[in-house]
């Protein structure tokens, strides 16, 4: 009995439940009637080339939709005690080249970046509210880190960019990063980049077309 539950009934129920869309569609419709925006939570790491690709790509796909691009940088994530952590980071470079090619960009780095090297960027961005300045900063920072530079990541260069976007100096808030990490974990994703929208989450580097389709289904279509 237990064997049947684990091997058949459990997986089937998970799959069946994943096809239920009515609550999400009703929620989206209610927001639209009330004149409110949709929201796409994007959990990403500045140290991760797949995240850089996804932030740029999804940003483009959200243009013209009444959807808030809620960019939520994280530092600590991944499967606990993952034995494949280092091979995955190395492979991310190889894969990042392919992802970049899809959007016409060439990866400029040949080595992984340690998460702590970009933690200051996460602490800045996590403290800012979603909106055009934050989207511009994150998109441009991802582009510069992964597609336009190699070597050390100098805080001064990115502070200049921050000022261009926000007209003020960044105020780091590491606690806001921890909150993003907790929020991401509570949503389900264990790795970045992950997009949460309408009650579903997607690995954002591989499912951006699905995300766009789901937004269309929810009624958050491109309008302009």
């Amino acid at each position: 009995m237990r064997d049947w539950l684990e091997r058949e009934l459990g997986p089937r129920l998970i799959v069946a439940a994943s096809t239920v869309t009515l609550p999400a569609l009703a929620m989206a419709r209610a927001r639209q009637i009330l004149g409110r925006s949709g929201r796409l939570e994007m959990y990403f790491g500045f140290d991760d080339p797949a995240s850089a690709y996804a932030v740029i790509d999804l940003g483009r796909r959200l243009v013209g939709r009444n959807v808030i691009f809620d960019l939520r940088p994280v530092v600590q994530r991944g499967i606990k005690n993952d034995p494949a952590l280092e091979p995955k980071r190395a492979y991310a470079i190889t894969d990042g080249r392919r992802l970049g090619r899809r959007i016409g960009l060439t990866l400029s780095r040949s080595e992984a970046i340690a998460p702590q090297k970009t933690a200051f960027l996460a602490a800045w961005a996590a403290a800012a509210p979603p909106g055009a300045p934050l989207t511009r900063f994150c998109t441009e920072a991802c582009r510069r880190i992964w597609f336009e530079s190699d070597g050390e990541i100098e805080a001064a260069q990115y502070e200049t960019l921050w000022r261009e976007c926000f007209g003020a100096s960044p105020i780091p808030d590491p606690e806001a990063v921890r909150l993003n990490e907790k929020k991401m974990s509570s949503r389900g994703p264990y790795e970045t980049p992950a997009a949460w929208v309408g009650g579903r989450w997607f690995f954002a580097q591989d499912r951006s077309a699905q995300v766009a389709d789901w937004l269309d289904e929810l009624g958050w279509k491109v309008e302009r």
Partner: protein, 197 residues
């Protein structure tokens, strides 16, 4: 001589199942020798898979299956004996040149028909649908040479530093995931291996 592409596959991986029709079709479209390499599932190799990952994998695989117009959802998880028996028969199928038929049949059975390959009726159905005679398949299950081949495939995946499936390896370059088949096809085209031109 056709260029070699190694295709590492697990019968317990829904993404392997989703990759199979397009993976085998690569050999139709490109001048390649696609080598099917069945490997022992991660959880039978002592690796743990978090619950969140297991749940997400099923949900995501369902969405991908719908996109690819492949049946999915009436599942029988083959972890253990079922996966081991499929691996054994897949090596036998390679010897007979029917690995494509067997892998597609097994995937269909496991992920969309809840066929249990750990049982004789289940595995027999999968084998005979693939055009394999049951007696030969049954004999392969207890052939130590075949078990050694499966072990060797699994060890090679570990030796190249990879952790999951499906993985394609062409000229030393790894392509992990059913989402990277198009990228592999692009590289094969760039190398001038496209048969369709």
């Amino acid at each position: 001589m056709a260029a070699r592409v190694d295709y590492f596959y697990s019968f317990r991986s829904p993404y392997s199942y989703l990759s199979a029709p397009r993976a085998f079709a690569l050999a139709d479209d490109y001048e390649i020798d696609l080598r099917f390499r069945g490997v022992i599932p991660m959880m039978m190799r002592g690796q743990s898979v978090p619950t969140a990952k297991r749940i997400h994998t099923l949900r995501d695989a369902k969405r991908e299956a719908d996109r690819l117009k492949m049946p999915f959802g009436h599942i029988h998880d083959p972890l253990g004996e079922g996966a081991t028996r499929c691996l054994g028969v897949s090596e036998h199928a390679i010897d007979l040149g029917r690995q494509r038929e067997f892998v597609l049949s097994a995937g269909q059975g496991i992920w969309s028909e809840a066929t249990d390959p750990a049982t004789e009726p289940g595995l027999r159905l999968i084998c005979e649908r693939a055009g394999l005679e049951w007696e030969g398949c049954y004999a392969a299950l207890s052939d130590p040479a075949i078990a050694d081949r499966v072990e060797a495939n699994t060890q090679e995946l570990l030796d190249i530093g990879h952790w999951g499936v499906p993985v394609f390896v062409y000229e030393g370059e790894q392509f992990w995931g059913q989402d990277r088949i198009d990228d592999l096809a692009l590289v094969l085209s760039d190398t001038g291996l496209d048969r369709r031109l």
